[in-house]
Protein backbone atom coordinates (compact mmCIF):
# COMPACT_ATOMS: atom_id res chain seq x y z
CA UNK A 1 0.00 0.00 0.00
CA UNK A 2 1.44 3.35 -1.06
CA UNK A 3 2.27 5.67 1.80
CA UNK A 4 1.73 9.31 0.95
CA UNK A 5 4.06 10.44 3.70
CA UNK A 6 6.85 9.58 1.27
CA UNK A 7 5.67 12.38 -0.98
CA UNK A 8 5.18 14.90 1.78
CA UNK A 9 8.52 14.01 3.25
CA UNK A 10 10.16 14.50 -0.13
CA UNK A 11 8.58 17.92 -0.56
CA UNK A 12 9.56 18.87 2.96
CA UNK A 13 13.18 17.81 2.42
CA UNK A 14 13.33 19.59 -0.90
CA UNK A 15 12.05 22.86 0.52
CA UNK A 16 14.30 22.65 3.57
CA UNK A 17 17.22 21.93 1.30
CA UNK A 18 16.92 25.10 -0.73
CA UNK A 19 15.31 27.51 1.75
CA UNK A 20 15.68 28.57 5.31
CA UNK A 21 13.42 26.58 7.69
CA UNK A 22 11.12 29.57 8.26
CA UNK A 23 10.53 30.08 4.57
CA UNK A 24 10.16 26.40 3.98
CA UNK A 25 7.47 26.17 6.62
CA UNK A 26 5.78 29.22 5.22
CA UNK A 27 5.71 27.81 1.70
CA UNK A 28 4.45 24.53 3.04
CA UNK A 29 1.62 26.38 4.73
CA UNK A 30 0.72 28.11 1.51
CA UNK A 31 0.91 24.89 -0.45
CA UNK A 32 -1.31 23.08 1.97
CA UNK A 33 -3.71 26.00 2.08
CA UNK A 34 -4.02 25.99 -1.69
CA UNK A 35 -4.45 22.23 -1.77
CA UNK A 36 -7.11 22.20 0.92
CA UNK A 37 -9.11 25.01 -0.61
CA UNK A 38 -8.93 23.47 -4.07
CA UNK A 39 -10.00 20.13 -2.71
CA UNK A 40 -12.76 21.86 -0.78
CA UNK A 41 -14.12 23.59 -3.86
CA UNK A 42 -13.83 20.56 -6.09
CA UNK A 43 -15.50 18.26 -3.59
CA UNK A 44 -18.30 20.73 -2.97
CA UNK A 45 -18.98 21.20 -6.68
CA UNK A 46 -18.86 17.48 -7.27
CA UNK A 47 -21.24 16.89 -4.39
CA UNK A 48 -23.69 19.47 -5.66
CA UNK A 49 -23.73 17.75 -9.01
CA UNK A 50 -24.07 14.32 -7.45
CA UNK A 51 -26.85 15.47 -5.17
CA UNK A 52 -28.83 16.87 -8.06
CA UNK A 53 -28.33 13.76 -10.11
CA UNK A 54 -29.15 11.40 -7.24
CA UNK A 55 -32.26 13.27 -6.24
CA UNK A 56 -33.36 13.31 -9.87
CA UNK A 57 -32.99 9.58 -10.04
CA UNK A 58 -35.00 9.09 -6.89
CA UNK A 59 -37.70 11.22 -8.46
CA UNK A 60 -37.92 9.35 -11.77
CA UNK A 61 -36.37 12.15 -13.77
CA UNK A 62 -33.03 12.75 -15.40
CA UNK A 63 -31.44 15.69 -13.64
CA UNK A 64 -28.92 18.04 -15.22
CA UNK A 65 -27.81 16.66 -18.57
CA UNK A 66 -27.42 19.59 -20.93
CA UNK A 67 -24.46 21.55 -19.58
CA UNK A 68 -21.40 19.57 -20.57
CA UNK A 69 -21.47 15.80 -21.01
CA UNK A 70 -24.14 14.34 -18.70
CA UNK A 71 -24.51 17.79 -17.22
CA UNK A 72 -21.15 17.44 -15.50
CA UNK A 73 -20.41 21.14 -15.80
CA UNK A 74 -23.69 22.17 -14.22
CA UNK A 75 -22.28 23.08 -10.84
CA UNK A 76 -19.32 24.82 -12.49
CA UNK A 77 -21.76 27.06 -14.29
CA UNK A 78 -23.52 27.67 -11.01
CA UNK A 79 -20.23 28.67 -9.44
CA UNK A 80 -19.43 31.16 -12.20
CA UNK A 81 -22.82 32.72 -11.82
CA UNK A 82 -22.65 32.86 -8.07
CA UNK A 83 -19.21 34.47 -8.07
CA UNK A 84 -20.39 37.49 -10.01
CA UNK A 85 -23.86 37.73 -8.59
CA UNK A 86 -24.58 40.91 -6.72
CA UNK A 87 -24.19 40.83 -2.96
CA UNK A 88 -27.03 42.90 -1.67
CA UNK A 89 -26.43 45.33 1.12
CA UNK A 90 -29.40 45.42 3.44
CA UNK A 91 -30.70 48.26 5.51
CA UNK A 92 -31.28 47.93 9.25
CA UNK A 93 -29.15 44.87 9.74
CA UNK A 94 -26.04 44.39 11.79
CA UNK A 95 -23.58 44.93 8.94
CA UNK A 96 -20.50 43.49 10.60
CA UNK A 97 -22.10 40.30 11.90
CA UNK A 98 -24.13 39.91 8.73
CA UNK A 99 -20.99 39.88 6.62
CA UNK A 100 -19.02 37.84 9.13
CA UNK A 101 -21.50 34.96 9.45
CA UNK A 102 -20.85 33.16 6.14
CA UNK A 103 -17.12 33.25 6.79
CA UNK A 104 -17.56 31.73 10.22
CA UNK A 105 -19.59 28.93 8.71
CA UNK A 106 -17.12 28.28 5.94
CA UNK A 107 -14.12 28.55 8.25
CA UNK A 108 -15.62 25.98 10.58
CA UNK A 109 -16.09 23.52 7.80
CA UNK A 110 -12.62 24.15 6.35
CA UNK A 111 -11.07 23.51 9.75
CA UNK A 112 -12.98 20.29 10.16
CA UNK A 113 -12.13 19.36 6.61
CA UNK A 114 -8.44 19.66 7.48
CA UNK A 115 -8.63 16.90 10.07
CA UNK A 116 -9.77 14.20 7.75
CA UNK A 117 -7.33 11.44 6.83
CA UNK A 118 -7.75 10.99 3.09
CA UNK A 119 -5.28 8.21 2.67
CA UNK A 120 -2.27 6.57 4.14
CA UNK A 121 -0.06 9.49 5.11
CA UNK A 122 -2.42 11.92 3.41
CA UNK A 123 -3.26 13.88 6.46
CA UNK A 124 -3.11 17.54 7.29
CA UNK A 125 -3.87 17.74 10.96
CA UNK A 126 -3.15 14.68 12.98
CA UNK A 127 -2.61 14.96 16.67
CA UNK A 128 -3.53 13.02 19.73
CA UNK A 129 -6.91 14.63 20.29
CA UNK A 130 -7.80 14.76 16.60
CA UNK A 131 -11.39 13.62 16.89
CA UNK A 132 -12.00 15.93 19.80
CA UNK A 133 -10.66 18.83 17.77
CA UNK A 134 -12.89 17.87 14.87
CA UNK A 135 -16.02 17.91 16.99
CA UNK A 136 -15.00 21.20 18.51
CA UNK A 137 -14.37 23.07 15.28
CA UNK A 138 -17.35 21.65 13.46
CA UNK A 139 -19.61 23.07 16.15
CA UNK A 140 -18.36 26.56 15.45
CA UNK A 141 -20.58 26.45 12.39
CA UNK A 142 -23.68 26.89 14.49
CA UNK A 143 -22.34 30.20 15.71
CA UNK A 144 -22.21 31.36 12.12
CA UNK A 145 -25.77 30.25 11.59
CA UNK A 146 -26.96 31.99 14.71
CA UNK A 147 -25.13 35.14 13.70
CA UNK A 148 -26.67 35.00 10.25
CA UNK A 149 -30.13 34.60 11.66
CA UNK A 150 -29.72 37.31 14.23
CA UNK A 151 -28.04 39.92 12.08
CA UNK A 152 -30.38 39.59 9.09
CA UNK A 153 -33.13 41.50 10.83
CA UNK A 154 -35.63 39.08 9.39
CA UNK A 155 -38.13 37.11 11.39
CA UNK A 156 -37.82 33.96 9.33
CA UNK A 157 -34.06 34.07 9.67
CA UNK A 158 -34.30 34.43 13.39
CA UNK A 159 -36.69 31.52 13.77
CA UNK A 160 -34.46 29.45 11.51
CA UNK A 161 -31.38 30.30 13.53
CA UNK A 162 -33.09 29.50 16.81
CA UNK A 163 -34.22 26.17 15.47
CA UNK A 164 -30.74 25.51 14.28
CA UNK A 165 -29.33 26.32 17.70
CA UNK A 166 -31.73 23.98 19.47
CA UNK A 167 -31.07 21.27 16.96
CA UNK A 168 -27.30 21.52 16.96
CA UNK A 169 -26.97 21.56 20.71
CA UNK A 170 -29.19 18.51 21.05
CA UNK A 171 -27.64 16.44 18.34
CA UNK A 172 -24.10 17.39 19.26
CA UNK A 173 -24.69 15.19 22.30
CA UNK A 174 -25.55 12.17 20.23
CA UNK A 175 -22.64 12.70 17.91
CA UNK A 176 -20.28 13.13 20.82
CA UNK A 177 -21.55 10.06 22.63
CA UNK A 178 -21.50 7.82 19.60
CA UNK A 179 -17.98 8.95 18.79
CA UNK A 180 -17.04 8.40 22.40
CA UNK A 181 -18.21 4.83 22.08
CA UNK A 182 -15.72 4.29 19.31
CA UNK A 183 -13.00 6.16 21.14
CA UNK A 184 -13.43 3.78 24.05
CA UNK A 185 -13.18 0.89 21.69
CA UNK A 186 -10.14 2.21 19.85
CA UNK A 187 -8.51 3.54 22.98
CA UNK A 188 -7.33 6.62 21.16
CA UNK A 189 -8.55 9.96 19.97
CA UNK A 190 -5.98 10.26 17.24
CA UNK A 191 -7.57 9.68 13.87
CA UNK A 192 -4.56 7.97 12.36
CA UNK A 193 -4.40 5.53 15.25
CA UNK A 194 -8.10 4.85 14.97
CA UNK A 195 -7.69 4.04 11.30
CA UNK A 196 -4.56 1.95 11.87
CA UNK A 197 -6.26 -0.12 14.53
CA UNK A 198 -8.93 -1.12 12.02
CA UNK A 199 -6.40 -2.96 9.87
CA UNK A 200 -7.78 -6.30 10.95
CA UNK A 201 -11.40 -5.44 10.53
CA UNK A 202 -13.52 -2.37 10.62
CA UNK A 203 -14.94 -1.25 13.91
CA UNK A 204 -18.43 -1.65 12.59
CA UNK A 205 -17.83 -5.40 12.38
CA UNK A 206 -15.45 -5.82 15.29
CA UNK A 207 -17.43 -3.85 17.80
CA UNK A 208 -20.49 -6.10 18.02
CA UNK A 209 -23.88 -4.54 18.52
CA UNK A 210 -22.73 -1.40 20.35
CA UNK A 211 -20.66 -0.33 17.34
CA UNK A 212 -23.58 -0.93 15.03
CA UNK A 213 -25.91 1.06 17.25
CA UNK A 214 -23.37 3.83 17.57
CA UNK A 215 -23.06 3.85 13.80
CA UNK A 216 -26.79 4.20 13.27
CA UNK A 217 -27.11 6.89 15.90
CA UNK A 218 -24.18 8.70 14.37
CA UNK A 219 -25.83 8.56 10.95
CA UNK A 220 -29.05 10.08 12.25
CA UNK A 221 -27.35 12.68 14.38
CA UNK A 222 -24.89 13.46 11.63
CA UNK A 223 -27.69 14.13 9.18
CA UNK A 224 -29.20 16.43 11.75
CA UNK A 225 -25.88 18.18 12.23
CA UNK A 226 -25.66 19.04 8.57
CA UNK A 227 -29.15 20.56 8.57
CA UNK A 228 -30.24 18.26 5.80
CA UNK A 229 -33.61 16.68 5.28
CA UNK A 230 -35.45 15.28 7.16
CA UNK A 231 -33.81 17.59 9.70
CA UNK A 232 -33.68 20.68 7.53
CA UNK A 233 -35.81 22.73 9.89
CA UNK A 234 -33.51 25.74 10.05
CA UNK A 235 -34.02 26.38 6.36
CA UNK A 236 -37.33 24.58 5.89
CA UNK A 237 -38.40 25.84 2.50
CA UNK A 238 -42.09 25.44 2.98
CA UNK A 239 -42.12 27.03 6.42
CA UNK A 240 -39.42 29.66 6.62
CA UNK A 241 -38.74 30.40 2.93
CA UNK A 242 -34.98 29.95 3.26
CA UNK A 243 -34.48 30.07 7.00
CA UNK A 244 -31.34 31.64 8.35
CA UNK A 245 -29.91 32.53 4.94
CA UNK A 246 -33.05 34.19 3.59
CA UNK A 247 -31.38 37.57 3.28
CA UNK A 248 -28.09 36.39 1.83
CA UNK A 249 -27.35 36.75 -1.83
CA UNK A 250 -24.49 36.14 -4.20
CA UNK A 251 -21.38 34.45 -2.92
CA UNK A 252 -22.34 34.96 0.70
CA UNK A 253 -25.21 32.63 0.10
CA UNK A 254 -22.78 30.53 -1.92
CA UNK A 255 -20.69 30.03 1.20
CA UNK A 256 -23.67 28.65 3.10
CA UNK A 257 -24.49 26.48 0.15
CA UNK A 258 -20.95 25.13 -0.15
CA UNK A 259 -20.61 24.64 3.59
CA UNK A 260 -23.79 22.59 3.65
CA UNK A 261 -22.36 20.14 1.15
CA UNK A 262 -18.95 20.11 2.74
CA UNK A 263 -20.49 19.37 6.11
CA UNK A 264 -22.23 16.48 4.47
CA UNK A 265 -18.87 15.29 3.23
CA UNK A 266 -17.24 15.75 6.61
CA UNK A 267 -19.93 13.84 8.46
CA UNK A 268 -19.72 11.03 5.93
CA UNK A 269 -15.93 11.06 6.06
CA UNK A 270 -15.89 10.85 9.84
CA UNK A 271 -18.41 8.02 9.71
CA UNK A 272 -16.25 6.09 7.31
CA UNK A 273 -13.12 6.84 9.32
CA UNK A 274 -14.55 5.78 12.64
CA UNK A 275 -16.74 2.89 11.64
CA UNK A 276 -15.67 1.71 8.23
CA UNK A 277 -11.93 1.89 8.57
CA UNK A 278 -11.25 5.13 6.76
CA UNK A 279 -8.67 4.54 4.05
CA UNK A 280 -8.00 1.05 5.35
CA UNK A 281 -8.82 -1.63 2.78
CA UNK A 282 -11.27 -4.37 3.57
CA UNK A 283 -9.28 -7.04 5.36
CA UNK A 284 -10.63 -10.35 6.45
CA UNK A 285 -8.36 -12.10 8.94
CA UNK A 286 -7.04 -15.33 7.47
CA UNK A 287 -7.76 -14.56 3.81
CA UNK A 288 -4.28 -13.38 2.91
CA UNK A 289 -4.65 -13.51 -0.85
CA UNK A 290 -7.84 -11.50 -0.71
CA UNK A 291 -6.27 -9.00 1.62
CA UNK A 292 -3.33 -8.53 -0.70
CA UNK A 293 -5.57 -7.84 -3.66
CA UNK A 294 -7.46 -5.32 -1.58
CA UNK A 295 -4.18 -3.63 -0.72
CA UNK A 296 -3.54 -2.90 -4.38
CA UNK A 297 -6.42 -0.44 -4.44
CA UNK A 298 -4.97 2.95 -3.42
CA UNK A 299 -5.97 4.16 0.00
CA UNK A 300 -7.63 7.47 -1.09
CA UNK A 301 -9.94 5.44 -3.31
CA UNK A 302 -10.96 3.32 -0.38
CA UNK A 303 -11.63 6.39 1.63
CA UNK A 304 -13.59 8.20 -1.05
CA UNK A 305 -15.53 5.07 -1.91
CA UNK A 306 -16.67 4.55 1.64
CA UNK A 307 -17.48 8.21 2.01
CA UNK A 308 -19.48 8.11 -1.19
CA UNK A 309 -21.55 5.24 0.15
CA UNK A 310 -22.22 7.15 3.33
CA UNK A 311 -23.15 10.26 1.37
CA UNK A 312 -25.52 8.26 -0.77
CA UNK A 313 -27.23 6.89 2.32
CA UNK A 314 -27.68 10.39 3.70
CA UNK A 315 -29.06 11.62 0.42
CA UNK A 316 -31.35 8.65 0.42
CA UNK A 317 -32.65 9.80 3.82
CA UNK A 318 -33.18 13.29 2.58
CA UNK A 319 -35.03 12.33 -0.54
CA UNK A 320 -37.32 9.84 1.18
CA UNK A 321 -38.54 11.33 4.42
CA UNK A 322 -40.78 14.21 5.27
CA UNK A 323 -39.44 16.91 7.51
CA UNK A 324 -39.81 16.55 11.27
CA UNK A 325 -41.53 19.09 13.40
CA UNK A 326 -39.41 20.85 15.99
CA UNK A 327 -40.91 18.98 18.94
CA UNK A 328 -40.54 15.65 17.16
CA UNK A 329 -36.96 16.52 16.42
CA UNK A 330 -36.19 17.19 20.03
CA UNK A 331 -38.21 14.20 21.20
CA UNK A 332 -36.23 11.93 18.89
CA UNK A 333 -33.02 13.18 20.42
CA UNK A 334 -33.87 13.35 24.09
CA UNK A 335 -36.28 10.45 24.36
CA UNK A 336 -34.76 7.98 21.96
CA UNK A 337 -31.24 8.68 20.77
CA UNK A 338 -29.77 9.91 24.03
CA UNK A 339 -30.96 7.00 26.23
CA UNK A 340 -29.96 4.52 23.57
CA UNK A 341 -26.58 6.14 23.34
CA UNK A 342 -25.96 6.09 27.06
CA UNK A 343 -26.89 2.43 27.36
CA UNK A 344 -24.77 1.76 24.34
CA UNK A 345 -21.80 3.44 25.93
CA UNK A 346 -22.07 1.22 28.98
CA UNK A 347 -22.34 -1.83 26.76
CA UNK A 348 -19.22 -0.83 24.92
CA UNK A 349 -17.32 -0.36 28.15
CA UNK A 350 -18.37 -3.84 29.20
CA UNK A 351 -17.22 -5.24 25.91
CA UNK A 352 -13.89 -3.51 26.11
CA UNK A 353 -13.30 -4.40 29.73
CA UNK A 354 -14.11 -8.04 29.26
CA UNK A 355 -12.46 -8.14 25.83
CA UNK A 356 -15.34 -9.92 24.16
CA UNK A 357 -14.84 -8.21 20.82
CA UNK A 358 -13.19 -9.68 17.76
Amino acid sequence: MFDFSVVTKWVDDLLNGILSPTWATFIEFVLIGVCILTAYAVIALALIYIERKVCAFFQCRLGPNRVGPFGLLQSVADMFKMLIKEIIDIKHNDKFLFNLAPYVVIAASVLAFGCIPFGKGLHILDFNIGIFFLIAVSSIGVVGILLAGWSSNNKYSLIGAMRSGAQMISYELSIGLSILTIVIFAGSMQLSTIVESQANGWFLFRGHIPALIAFLVYLVAGTAETNRGPFDLPEADSELTAGYHTEYSGMHFGFFYLAEYLNLFIVAAVASTLFLGGWMPLHIPGWDGFNQIMDYIPSPLWFLGKTAVMIFIMMWFKWTFPRLRIDQLLRLEWKYLLPINLINLVLMVIIVVFKIHF
Binding site: F58, C60, R61, L62, W316, F317, T320
Partner: protein, 155 residues
Protein backbone atom coordinates in the same frame (compact mmCIF):
# COMPACT_ATOMS: atom_id res chain seq x y z
CA UNK B 1 -45.98 5.50 28.56
CA UNK B 2 -44.83 2.04 29.48
CA UNK B 3 -41.80 0.35 28.06
CA UNK B 4 -43.63 -1.89 25.57
CA UNK B 5 -45.46 0.92 23.83
CA UNK B 6 -42.21 2.87 23.82
CA UNK B 7 -40.37 0.06 22.11
CA UNK B 8 -43.27 -0.84 19.84
CA UNK B 9 -43.63 2.74 18.68
CA UNK B 10 -39.93 2.92 18.09
CA UNK B 11 -39.67 -0.23 16.01
CA UNK B 12 -42.88 0.37 14.07
CA UNK B 13 -41.61 3.80 13.21
CA UNK B 14 -38.28 2.42 12.16
CA UNK B 15 -39.97 -0.19 10.02
CA UNK B 16 -42.13 2.40 8.25
CA UNK B 17 -39.01 4.40 7.46
CA UNK B 18 -37.31 1.35 6.03
CA UNK B 19 -40.35 0.57 3.86
CA UNK B 20 -40.22 4.09 2.49
CA UNK B 21 -36.52 3.78 1.76
CA UNK B 22 -37.07 0.49 -0.01
CA UNK B 23 -39.70 2.09 -2.25
CA UNK B 24 -37.59 5.06 -3.19
CA UNK B 25 -34.61 2.86 -3.90
CA UNK B 26 -36.71 0.72 -6.21
CA UNK B 27 -37.76 3.82 -8.09
CA UNK B 28 -34.14 4.94 -8.20
CA UNK B 29 -33.38 2.10 -10.56
CA UNK B 30 -36.60 2.31 -12.53
CA UNK B 31 -36.73 3.75 -16.02
CA UNK B 32 -37.12 7.51 -15.97
CA UNK B 33 -40.24 9.14 -17.34
CA UNK B 34 -38.73 12.37 -18.59
CA UNK B 35 -39.52 13.56 -22.08
CA UNK B 36 -36.59 15.46 -23.48
CA UNK B 37 -37.83 18.59 -25.13
CA UNK B 38 -36.13 20.15 -27.17
CA UNK B 39 -34.11 17.05 -28.10
CA UNK B 40 -37.29 15.27 -29.11
CA UNK B 41 -38.54 18.17 -31.14
CA UNK B 42 -38.60 16.13 -34.33
CA UNK B 43 -40.89 13.48 -32.94
CA UNK B 44 -42.94 15.56 -30.55
CA UNK B 45 -46.54 15.77 -31.59
CA UNK B 46 -49.27 17.66 -29.82
CA UNK B 47 -52.78 16.29 -29.48
CA UNK B 48 -54.99 17.37 -32.37
CA UNK B 49 -57.35 19.26 -30.14
CA UNK B 50 -54.64 21.17 -28.33
CA UNK B 51 -55.11 24.92 -28.76
CA UNK B 52 -51.84 26.67 -29.42
CA UNK B 53 -52.77 29.72 -31.43
CA UNK B 54 -55.60 30.93 -33.61
CA UNK B 55 -55.17 30.81 -37.36
CA UNK B 56 -57.22 31.85 -40.31
CA UNK B 57 -57.33 28.83 -42.53
CA UNK B 58 -55.75 29.49 -45.92
CA UNK B 59 -55.91 27.03 -48.78
CA UNK B 60 -53.16 26.39 -51.29
CA UNK B 61 -54.28 29.33 -53.44
CA UNK B 62 -53.79 31.71 -50.53
CA UNK B 63 -57.52 32.04 -50.04
CA UNK B 64 -59.38 32.20 -46.75
CA UNK B 65 -63.05 32.02 -45.87
CA UNK B 66 -63.42 35.10 -43.68
CA UNK B 67 -66.12 37.50 -44.84
CA UNK B 68 -65.28 40.00 -42.11
CA UNK B 69 -68.68 39.70 -40.46
CA UNK B 70 -67.15 40.37 -37.05
CA UNK B 71 -69.04 37.69 -35.13
CA UNK B 72 -65.82 36.39 -33.67
CA UNK B 73 -64.85 39.87 -32.55
CA UNK B 74 -68.25 40.27 -30.93
CA UNK B 75 -68.05 36.94 -29.16
CA UNK B 76 -64.55 37.33 -27.86
CA UNK B 77 -64.81 37.92 -24.11
CA UNK B 78 -61.72 40.08 -23.87
CA UNK B 79 -61.24 41.86 -27.21
CA UNK B 80 -58.47 39.64 -28.43
CA UNK B 81 -59.68 39.80 -32.00
CA UNK B 82 -59.95 42.91 -34.12
CA UNK B 83 -61.36 42.60 -37.60
CA UNK B 84 -60.56 45.52 -39.85
CA UNK B 85 -62.60 45.53 -42.99
CA UNK B 86 -63.40 47.91 -45.77
CA UNK B 87 -66.38 48.24 -48.03
CA UNK B 88 -65.58 47.68 -51.66
CA UNK B 89 -67.97 48.42 -54.46
CA UNK B 90 -67.37 46.22 -57.44
CA UNK B 91 -68.11 46.88 -61.10
CA UNK B 92 -71.78 45.88 -60.78
CA UNK B 93 -72.32 48.42 -58.05
CA UNK B 94 -72.62 45.73 -55.40
CA UNK B 95 -71.00 46.66 -52.10
CA UNK B 96 -69.21 43.95 -50.22
CA UNK B 97 -67.26 43.94 -47.03
CA UNK B 98 -63.71 42.74 -47.49
CA UNK B 99 -61.26 41.71 -44.84
CA UNK B 100 -58.30 43.99 -44.58
CA UNK B 101 -56.56 42.94 -41.42
CA UNK B 102 -57.45 40.18 -39.03
CA UNK B 103 -55.66 41.13 -35.87
CA UNK B 104 -55.26 38.64 -33.11
CA UNK B 105 -53.48 39.25 -29.84
CA UNK B 106 -51.89 35.98 -28.87
CA UNK B 107 -50.75 37.60 -25.65
CA UNK B 108 -54.27 37.98 -24.31
CA UNK B 109 -56.16 35.08 -25.86
CA UNK B 110 -57.85 32.83 -23.33
CA UNK B 111 -58.49 30.00 -25.80
CA UNK B 112 -62.20 29.75 -25.03
CA UNK B 113 -62.94 28.68 -28.60
CA UNK B 114 -65.95 30.96 -28.87
CA UNK B 115 -64.54 32.46 -32.09
CA UNK B 116 -64.03 29.15 -33.85
CA UNK B 117 -67.34 27.77 -32.64
CA UNK B 118 -69.42 30.76 -33.65
CA UNK B 119 -67.74 31.45 -36.99
CA UNK B 120 -70.47 30.86 -39.55
CA UNK B 121 -68.01 29.91 -42.27
CA UNK B 122 -65.54 27.79 -40.37
CA UNK B 123 -62.79 30.17 -41.32
CA UNK B 124 -60.92 29.90 -38.05
CA UNK B 125 -59.05 27.09 -36.37
CA UNK B 126 -56.59 26.54 -33.58
CA UNK B 127 -53.24 25.10 -34.51
CA UNK B 128 -51.11 23.12 -32.07
CA UNK B 129 -48.04 25.33 -32.21
CA UNK B 130 -46.60 26.26 -28.87
CA UNK B 131 -43.18 27.80 -29.48
CA UNK B 132 -44.38 31.35 -29.24
CA UNK B 133 -42.26 33.04 -26.61
CA UNK B 134 -40.70 36.30 -27.82
CA UNK B 135 -38.77 39.23 -26.45
CA UNK B 136 -41.06 41.97 -27.64
CA UNK B 137 -44.66 42.38 -26.68
CA UNK B 138 -45.72 43.79 -30.04
CA UNK B 139 -44.68 40.59 -31.80
CA UNK B 140 -47.54 38.80 -30.10
CA UNK B 141 -50.15 40.81 -31.95
CA UNK B 142 -50.49 38.79 -35.09
CA UNK B 143 -52.03 39.53 -38.42
CA UNK B 144 -53.78 36.35 -39.36
CA UNK B 145 -54.65 36.98 -42.97
CA UNK B 146 -51.63 36.40 -45.13
CA UNK B 147 -50.24 38.96 -47.52
CA UNK B 148 -52.24 39.11 -50.71
CA UNK B 149 -54.78 36.57 -49.59
CA UNK B 150 -58.38 36.88 -50.69
CA UNK B 151 -61.76 35.42 -50.02
CA UNK B 152 -62.30 31.97 -51.41
CA UNK B 153 -65.18 31.59 -53.84
CA UNK B 154 -68.12 29.72 -52.45
CA UNK B 155 -68.94 26.59 -54.27
Amino acid sequence: MNITTYLKGFFNGLWSLLVGMKTTLRIFFRKKTTECYPENRGTLKMFDRFRGELTLIHNENNEHKCIACGICELNCPNHTIRVVSEKITDADGKTTRVLQRYEYDLGSCMFCELCTRTCPHGALAFTPTFENAVYTRSKLVLKLNREGSKLANKK
